[in-house]
């Protein structure tokens, strides 16, 4: 089982501390949600894990034998991909293996692409230009691109924010299935606390650049914990399906209005 240990991870952007020191330990096979108000460093945290931003502190990912896992085994899926590329869906997914591709594309890569497209129900879109896909289809293709490299750490940055309900479930189902099938660590930055409750084994609540609370959904999705972090009165209940749902009621009485810190 792989293990990810973050020790005091901090990130500064132009002298502003975005992430002030996060220390958490995550285990393979865990589907982890990172939640928290806007501007608390959720995206920055996953980018630090993917080594896409400079950070201080330490991120150590090791496998069963204690061997370090490199960025080659980490796939990062950014927020909604806006691109005008004319690449076809097939080629776009093939790029997930860009580091291994030579001038003549080897059979093994083509097989991997068609297999993942098949699994995600995208094979019929193979020839379509990526730029002509709907938002939901694009997100699925980007998921396929991430999964085709068989990452041991899958990082999804707000994968559902621009999607309709069906695609939200589809994307997270795919992530969950991959997580359980492969024993990878999957980290999802997500705003929808209901979805976080439904899909996560573990939740990290970030507040003001720190990890304010972490644990199972039962522990983190607590009215007092959420009210303190989001400064909103919430009602946490259990739906008919057995999942926790979080309903915002009103801003907390001690909240004077949205501060500039929140406008990220």
């Amino acid at each position: 089982m792989i293990t990810m240990k973050l020790s005091d991870v901090a990130v500064n952007f132009q002298k502003k501390e975005v992430l002030k020191g996060v220390s958490i330990t995550l285990k393979g096979g865990q589907m982890v949600s990172v939640i928290g108000p806007n501007g608390t460093g959720k995206t920055t945290l996953v980018k630090a894990i993917a080594k896409l931003v400079r950070y201080s502190g330490e991120v150590v990912i090791t496998d069963d034998n204690g061997k370090r896992i490199t960025t080659n085994d980490i796939a990062y899926v950014p927020q909604m991909t806006v691109t005008t590329t004319d690449l076809t869906v097939f080629e776009m997914v093939l790029l997930g293996r860009v580091k291994d591709l030579s001038w003549r594309v080897e059979q093994v890569h083509l097989d991997a692409v068609s297999k993942i497209l098949e699994e995600l129900g995208l094979i019929s879109l193979s020839y379509r230009p990526f730029s002509r896909l709907s938002g939901g289809q694009r997100q699925l293709v980007i998921m396929a691109q991430a999964l085709v490299s068989h990452p041991r750490v899958l990082l999804l940055d707000e994968p559902t924010s621009a999607l309709d309900l069906r695609h939200q479930l589809q994307v997270l189902d795919i992530a969950k299935k991959y997580n359980k099938d492969t024993g990878a660590i999957t980290i999802v930055v997500i705003h929808d606390l209901g979805l976080a409750a439904r899909y996560s084994d573990y939740i990290v609540l970030l507040d003001d650049g720190y990890s304010a609370k972490e644990g199972t959904p039962d522990v983190v999705l607590d009215e007092h914990v959420l009210e303190k972090a989001y400064q909103v009165e919430v009602d946490v209940s259990v739906s008919a399906g057995g999942f926790k749902t979080v309903t915002p009621i009103r801003p907390s009485s001690n909240l004077g209005g949205m501060g500039s810190e929140d406008l990220h």
Partner: protein, 352 residues
Amino acid sequence: MPKVKNTSTLLKGREIYNEINKKRNVIFLLTLVGIMVSLFIDLLVGSSGLTIQDVFIALISGPGADSIHASIVWSVRFPMTLICLCVGASLGLAGTQMQTILANPLASPYTLGVSSAAGFGAAVGFISGFPFRGEIVWVNAPILAFVMTIASTMAIFFLGKAKGLQAQSMVLFGIVIHFLFQALLSLVQFRSTPEVASQIVYWMFGSLLKATWTGVLVCGIIFIICAILLSRYAWKLTALSAGEERAKSLGINTDRVRLHVFLISALLTAGAVSFVGTIGFVGLVAPHFARMLVGEDQRYLVPMASMLGVLLMSCASIISKSVIPGIIVPIGIVTSLVGVPFLTYMILRRTK
């Protein structure tokens, strides 16, 4: 759009990929035939009134033959046709890479000011007689044009570096460089004698009449070296064309790729414009057409853009030699005039 057949997954991967590339291969073949035909016509057309038979005989008799026809074909027409090939391919390739790394469809050697820097270098070469005097004074303009092209690219690069090599900043710095060298060029023209001023203006037109075997060799060798170097970046550049963040998240060091490819593109541009002068639009238009025809996969896009660069240049060359009987219109004028409607069409097409 082809339908995906219901076969086993293993077969399907190769099948789909072959299908995507099938159309590209056909387009490649057609373009290659087009190039061969246009280069051949270009060799046949000229202001000296040689017949097809004359040209054939001169070609067969070789460069050493003691006849006016052989001399015209081997010393004037052949270098002109071959420089068409080298310059067109270089500009098409440089334009493609600049557009890819700067994520801007209007990036090209011309619009980024690299060509005006070359023009300024050539102008200084004409008025200063530096670095050579005597019989080889003619190499001053190409040498200084080459040096200024490299210098201006470095300026764009280092200014861009101050802004974290952001594509948008680099394009804006390119425009700044363009204006700077335009102004300096005007100053040189303003201060020079009418004879030198007309030499500068003629250089700025861009003309294949300046073609020499030396030019063909230098430009050709630079193109071959740069094309080989760039082939190593094919997949990384393809990923970059899908967006900076995508490329970064796929583990590509985009800053490094941008630096290397920018320098190689500068070298290509320098090699191309030094010997024939400023030729606009080829580096801008060829990549767009190539992208329309074969898509974003750089393994196809790059050769296609180079081939279309050659096709555009050779067609423009044929027009420049035949539009006014007995007179060869500078090719830069033709490429710009032909390029304007193409560019307008593409802008209209993009906004739809």
